[in-house]
């Protein structure tokens, strides 16, 4: 196997989970439990190498895995541990191939750790990249599917030893529907593995370098805290983002529609934004930021709420009246901003047909 990349050490896991929580843009589930699980494996001698996709042979097979379920179940019914691993072995068998590396569907939130844990159990490396560069709520919302990955065979595994293989699924939307239904029967906590992809395809379609990006963001947060520096400024500098608003939350409204918690947070500006008002649309993740009624950041660009004083990322379910928040925007990767990608992960796909996507940095998107 390649000597490219680097081996994840115990000391990397906390910063990785902090960076992943931040890239979760308010959703994606808490990576704390996954961080502890991986730490246990590392303490027992597991080694996982993070490799660039370039280091794989064109015809090597890469498998995308992630947890599927409900965030609240994730903090109560902790995984048996081998869910994603068993799902991966099942698709390997169904597809008749041997997998050479794992990759994350979603670097944001708890799914950042799932492929790393499965890779540790399988003795495989994990590709430095993922299918979102952030968190999204549904299975089909990956660059892999947007750019033509096959939806089958796929497999879903639970804590008890049940493994369900989806032999033929006509597209990624059907896969989302079937997998979601089965995951609920499995107790809303299951591991999902998707048809292995060839490495040359992964190289073209994965958002590159996101494991390292999460790690570096987390390291900056910890370093800034140790040096008592402004965490928000350090994160903005590390991630190449921009501070869009600072304010206090004056109202949070939530409702449940179609299985998703949708809502709005209203912020009243402080410091440089005193006198301004902002609104953030949320659906598991933060979707759109308006400042004084003008759209300022739109999905798929990343909207991250950090607690103003500590720089701690705030997930959408704990947003509450009175919190002091810095809203920062990070540009999504160009792969998420093509017309084909915006069909699946643009403002319209999340129920904002009146918004035409404008990148937060105003930079035209490379074809």
């Amino acid at each position: 196997m390649s000597d490219k990349g680097y081996i994840l050490k115990e000391a990397d896991l906390l910063p990785l989970s902090i960076g992943a929580a931040l890239l979760g843009t308010g959703g994606g589930g808490n990576p704390y439990v996954g961080m502890l699980r991986m730490r246990e494996l590392v303490r027992k001698g597991a080694e996982v190498r993070v490799i660039p996709a370039e280091s794989l042979a064109d015809d090597a097979w890469v498998c995308e895995v992630g947890g599927i379920g409900a965030p609240v179940v994730g903090i109560e019914k902790i995984e048996e541990g081998g869910e994603c691993y068993r799902a991966m072995r099942a698709v390997e068998e169904a597809a008749g191939v041997k997998v050479s590396a794992m990759i994350s569907a979603e670097i944001g939130g708890s799914n950042s750790l799932e492929p790393i844990i499965a890779a540790a159990l399988a003795g495989l490396p994990v590709v430095d990249g993922d299918g979102m560069g952030r968190a999204f709520p549904e299975v089909q919302m990956t660059t892999f599917f947007i750019y033509g990955a096959k939806a089958a065979p796929a497999a879903i595994a639970d804590d008890k030893g049940n493994v369900v293989v989806f032999k033929e699924v006509i597209d990624m939307f059907w896969l989302e529907r079937f997998a979601r239904t089965v995951s609920v029967d499995m107790g809303a906590a299951a591991g999902l593995a998707i048809a292995p992809m060839r490495a040359d395809f992964v190289r073209r379609t994965a958002v590159p370098g996101t494991v390292t990006q999460a790690l570096n963001i987390g390291r900056s947060v910890l370093d800034a805290r140790t040096r008592r520096q402004n965490v928000v400024q350090r994160v903005v500098a590390e991630a190449g983002g921009k501070l869009f608003f600072t304010g206090k939350i004056t109202d949070v409204r939530r409702e449940l529609t179609g299985g998703f918690a949708r809502g709005h947070a209203i912020l009243s500006g402080v410091d440089a934004w005193a006198g301004s008002e902002a609104r953030i649309a949320i659906q598991n993740e933060n979707l759109v930021l308006w400042v004084d009624g003008v759209p300022a950041i739109m999905v798929p660009d990343l909207i991250v709420n950090l607690e103003l004083d500590t720089g701690e990322p705030i997930t959408t379910e704990v947003l509450r009246y009175g919190q002091r928040v810095a809203v920062i925007g990070l540009p999504a990767h160009d792969l998420l901003k093509t017309p084909a990608a915006l069909e699946i992960v643009g403002p319209r796909a999340f129920g904002y047909p009146e918004l035409t996507f404008v990148p937060l940095d105003g930079r035209p998107i490379a074809a």
Binding site: V73, K77, I78, E79, G81, R254, L256, A261, E312, G322
Partner: protein, 515 residues
């Protein structure tokens, strides 16, 4: 009803006597190394000051940091077996996996995973295996362990597994102390389990401490009933507290905020409690402290207790005052309880905030001539710096632009003069012993935290069911049924789950039932 409230802090043991809503007397006395003689001293002093007979006292309410400190200092903790029901789920993370090494070692690292547990909707993960549990009980007995904490996946939804396992262990290990996680915590397995294990390892100590409090109260001649305050500012009777010592964690800040609300008659305010070394600032909503929403660590262990959302800064009556190149520096270092010997006005050599308050003529204390030499400019710059520090943390705790008053309590309140950040300042009578007042006026509560499928029963019916359970829990804890009110309702829809699954949390509070 005549009540005595006692707050046993790290530095001072404060006591008040109240007749209904009226504070008759309040005293501060030093906390002693053995704690109990300090409690006896405080009781005797407050009775003497009030001129009342000990026999007239109906109830005694005690707020204590004893159990928090035992965990923080890793002392007097019993070897404990942690048994979790949930296999095959949860196998990836055994109990106590995220505990500090030294704390885990101090209670023995005896962890067991067994079958059992529930799914989010109440289905069984795997059936409870009695033979498996009896095998574990055997092992526990052979290790000579007498304390067991039992946790089960989704026990806040169904506590059947924990109850059955508890019965099996009680039978197999006669006389063992058994704590069930569903009796203590909320959804969030690791945090709830952590609370249950901490509770279990404090059980030997709680038996001893509750008995010592009882003896101290009897020694002072008081025959009334005896309660402890818990982290939400409500009461548990001594027998209950003995079983659930972990519930006393963080009762101190809660008591002082509740006391501030009571003494000032203001229910919505910012409360600043200035002690000897630190100031705690929190927000009061409808007479109760606003709760923190993030996981709270105690002694390095994550819990999901409802703790008051309090912000602390290093400013108190004993804070060091130092002139630096960048101007005057106040705190965070402090002479603490040694203020009575080290502050200038008390004959010491250290310039403290209290000396500055005396020099400014804000209060008469000690020997004022010993601070007469302080330059007027230094005094005024120090006072300005103190007010800036307070203004900053009050601003952090403010939830709305509306001009809420600031209630200032605690022994260090002498440092505050005039409005803070343009907000009106209230210094109520008896401000120095607000925490003991908070203990004395504490009510009784009951709480539920459950997941309901609203598609099946409808929102109104689900809320009614949860409210009924909360009321029953409050009455079971000692509340007068007629007085019980629902004070907090929160329903959060759960993403991705079918049947409009909604997590409902409800809290009911009532007056203490005496007699």
């Amino acid at each position: 009803m005549i009540r005595i409230g006692i707050d046993v802090g790290g530095t001072n043991t404060d006591a008040v006597i109240m007749d209904g809503p009226r504070v008759i007397a309040g005293v501060k006395s030093a906390t002693t190394a053995d704690v109990m003689s300090g409690v006896v001293n405080a009781l005797k002093a407050v009775l003497a000051e009030s001129g009342m007979a000990a026999s007239a006292v109906d109830v005694v309410m005690v707020g204590t940091t004893h159990f928090t400190n035992a965990v923080v200092q890793r002392r007097d903790l019993a070897p404990t077996a942690a048994v979790r029901l949930g296999l095959p789920a949860t196998a990836s993370l055994p109990p106590m996996v995220d505990w500090p090494e030294d704390l885990r070692a101090s209670i023995g690292n005896h962890v067991y995973l067994a079958h059992g547990g529930n799914e989010f909707d109440g289905r069984i993960i795997s059936p409870l295996d009695e033979a498996e549990l009896l095998g574990i009980a055997d092992d526990i007995r052979q290790k000579g362990i007498n304390t067991v904490a039992i946790s089960s996946v989704f026990s806040p939804v169904s506590n059947e597994c924990e109850k059955k396992a508890g019965e099996i262990f009680a039978k197999a290990l006669p006389g063992a102390h058994i704590t069930l996680s569903s009796e203590i915590g909320r959804i969030g397995l690791l945090e709830r389990e952590n609370a249950a294990i901490m509770n279990a390892c404090l059980r030997d100590l709680s038996t001893h401490v509750i008995e010592a409090f009882r003896t101290a109260i009897a020694e002072a001649g008081v025959k009334g009933r005896f309660f402890l305050t818990q982290n939400d500012g409500t009461l548990m009777d001594a027998a209950f507290a003995e079983k659930f010592p972990v519930l006393t964690f963080a009762s101190g800040p809660t008591n002082s905020m509740r006391g501030a609300a009571f003494l000032s008659g203001v229910a919505d305010a910012i409360v600043v409690d200035i002690g000897g070394t630190t100031s705690d600032v929190g927000s009061l909503q409808k007479g109760f402290p606003r709760q923190a929403t993030v996981a709270v660590e105690v002694g390095g262990v994550r819990t999901n207790f409802r703790m008051p959302d309090v912000f602390s800064i290093g400013l108190g009556g004993g804070s060091h005052v130092v002139e630096t190149e960048k101007g005057v520096k106040v705190g965070p270092t402090s002479v603490g309880y040694r203020i009575v010997t080290e502050a200038l006005v008390f004959g010491g050599q250290t310039l403290t905030t209290t000396d500055v308050a005396v020099a400014a003529g804000r209060i008469k204390l000690g020997d004022a001539t010993r601070v007469a030499h302080l330059p007027a400019d230094l005094v005024s710059r120090t006072e300005t710096r103190i007010m800036e520090m307070l203004e900053d943390c009050v601003e952090r705790s403010r939830l709305s632009p509306e001009p809420l008053p600031v209630i200032v309590v605690g022994g260090g309140s002498i440092l505050v003069n005039g409005p803070i950040g343009g907000l009106e300042v209230i210094k109520p009578n008896h401000f120095a012993v607000a925490n003991a007042v908070g203990a004395a006026i504490a009510q009784v509560s009951g709480e539920v935290d459950r997941v309901y499928a609203l598609a099946e029963m409808g929102r109104d019916k689900a809320l009614d069911d949860a409210k009924q359970r909360a009321v029953e829990a409050a009455v079971a804890a000692g509340a007068l049924r007629e007085s019980v009110e629902i004070v907090d309702v929160e329903d959060v829809p759960l993403a991705y789950l079918p049947g409009n699954a909604t997590r409902v949390r409800i809290k009911a509070v009532g007056e203490l039932h005496v007699g």
